[in-house]
Amino acid sequence: MTIDLLIPLLAATVQAGTPVLYATLGEMVTERSGTLNLGVEGMMLVGAFAAFLASTATGSPWVGFVAGGLGGLGLAAVHGLVTIVFTGNQVVSGLALTILGSGLAAYLGTPYVGANTPGFGHLPLPLLADIPVLGPVFFRHDALVYVSYVLPVLIWLLFARTRLGLALDAAGENPAAAKAAGLSVPGLRWLGVLAGGFLVGLGGAYLSLSYTHLWTNGLAAGRGWIAVALVIFAFWRPGRAVLGAYLFGGVMAFQLRLQASGTVLPSSLLLMLPYVLTILVLLLSSIRGRVKNAPAALGANVEPEG
């Protein structure tokens, strides 16, 4: 009996966690290469809108998905320009990026509010979908959820097994040493910023193409900021990012079910849950005393050379 209630809740957890997972992984790549980009919320919104627009225009959700990534990348490029080329303050630039991104999405999106878009439908994986419990929880979603299963593994491989990953980490940990070793720190940081922005944009695309299938303003609703927090919670490691994202997915799914069940609890108090949880999660990770795993040169710009 309880399992019948639990399985839909867990499936909804995976769905709600997926956009946060994309965004967390994206910000993680950016931060490991040494750049702090607080514009995640803005990049997600621009990604969501670009995805919506491209999917509507072409009728292909996959084109929309890639467009969402490019939208995030485009905004991230502004951050790269301000911080890597012009050595502007990373914190302030990221905040400005969020203001700009949410403004752009709302401004360009206003004529489309409430409009539907061809999105991703459910695609149960053959065989896997029939496994009891695991099947309905993990393998009866849309394609973007499956992509998000592969992504953390790829990112883990990138950092653990490739020279490029090592170089990105070097740009984030010790830019001076990286430069001495003949690496181009600005180049690596650009790569981190753009690749991260692309992933964050994909998270935004998930929101408009899979989660809602229509355009509304303020679609991200703080998920971008939650992703920034989850990078800290995850100690900059892809595996823990999965854990964190699903933790959040769980709270969001639970909160929605509770509202739908007609509880006496006021919805404004229920809506606080994910934000309260974010603070709690940060608190827990800092009590365990391992917050020092941040890339050593995170947030510090590299002086341009003559």
Partner: protein
Amino acid sequence: MRLSIVKRQEPLPGGSFFILAGALVFSLSISALLLALQGKSALGGLYVLWHGAFGAGYALVDTILKSVPIYLCGLGVAVAFRMQIWNIGAEGQFAMGAVGATWAALTFPEAPAALVLPLMFACAALAGGAFAFIPAWLKTRLKVNEIISTLMLNYIAILFLDYLVYGPWKEKRSFGFPMTAQFSDAAVIGGIGGSRLHWGLVVCVLAGILVFVMLRFTRLGFELKASGSAARASRYARMPYDALVWTVMAICGALAGTAGLIETSATVNRLQPSVMAGYGYTAIVVAWLARLNPLTIALAAFFLAGLRVGVENLQLELQVPAAFGNIMEGLILLSVLAGQFFQTYRIALRRRAG
């Protein structure tokens, strides 16, 4: 010949002015382009924007009134930023200040102004300040990043305000609208000499002087600056870093809370969700544009308030979405950040050796 980047011996004289002018021209051009993209007249739009903000007496009064909450929040944010404490929480502290003041106004509807107004100011400052203690505590005791905690608390505070006006504080005769009862006349901050300009302006002037004096002439101001620019050195000098964090958070919370009070009491006369207009975020733009200086913050606040009022005019006359203002705010801040590069560096043409 090739281009190279050379560090300046001294900052570019008058640089701030050129950077700001350049950033403005750049941001306005992009904004005009965006207007044209939606089939609106670009130059006409910019004119409507300017005219709505600064073009007539009525518009100027609107702009001045809107600078009040932005100035107070910007002042608070600047105090925290001076110490490199990235308090993004002015928005939430503003909400809690509005809630605190409303509690006082609703609890004592019969009280005379001489009692209820001071009580409201105290409640707003306390509520905003106490709310800012949460991230201060999290940061100093548990090393929780203040950017995230203050941001999350913004969402929480706004939802708490919503909860109150949709629930326990809702006016019974409001036809279902989420709002409290109107404040008694005694709880409303009135106009100066019958004009639309209210006494909140005087509060701004006093707060500005206080913060200026504190930053410029007191030990506290010096310690803030030192802890911001050289955290480690200041610890060696036995400056109480944690106590300073609590202090700047309290100051910012109290100022933002006061802004919430003034907006609720003087402008709306009751608490409703629309008091939350994102002044706390605009304050960050203002503080940074003004380089955290209390006097220039007044100018920047006036300018960005004008932008908001102008955008309202654009909304009315050309049906441009309100988000246009956010785009301009973001663009101006980003281009100023990028432009500051030219204050420390210059591009030189260099002949290739050999």
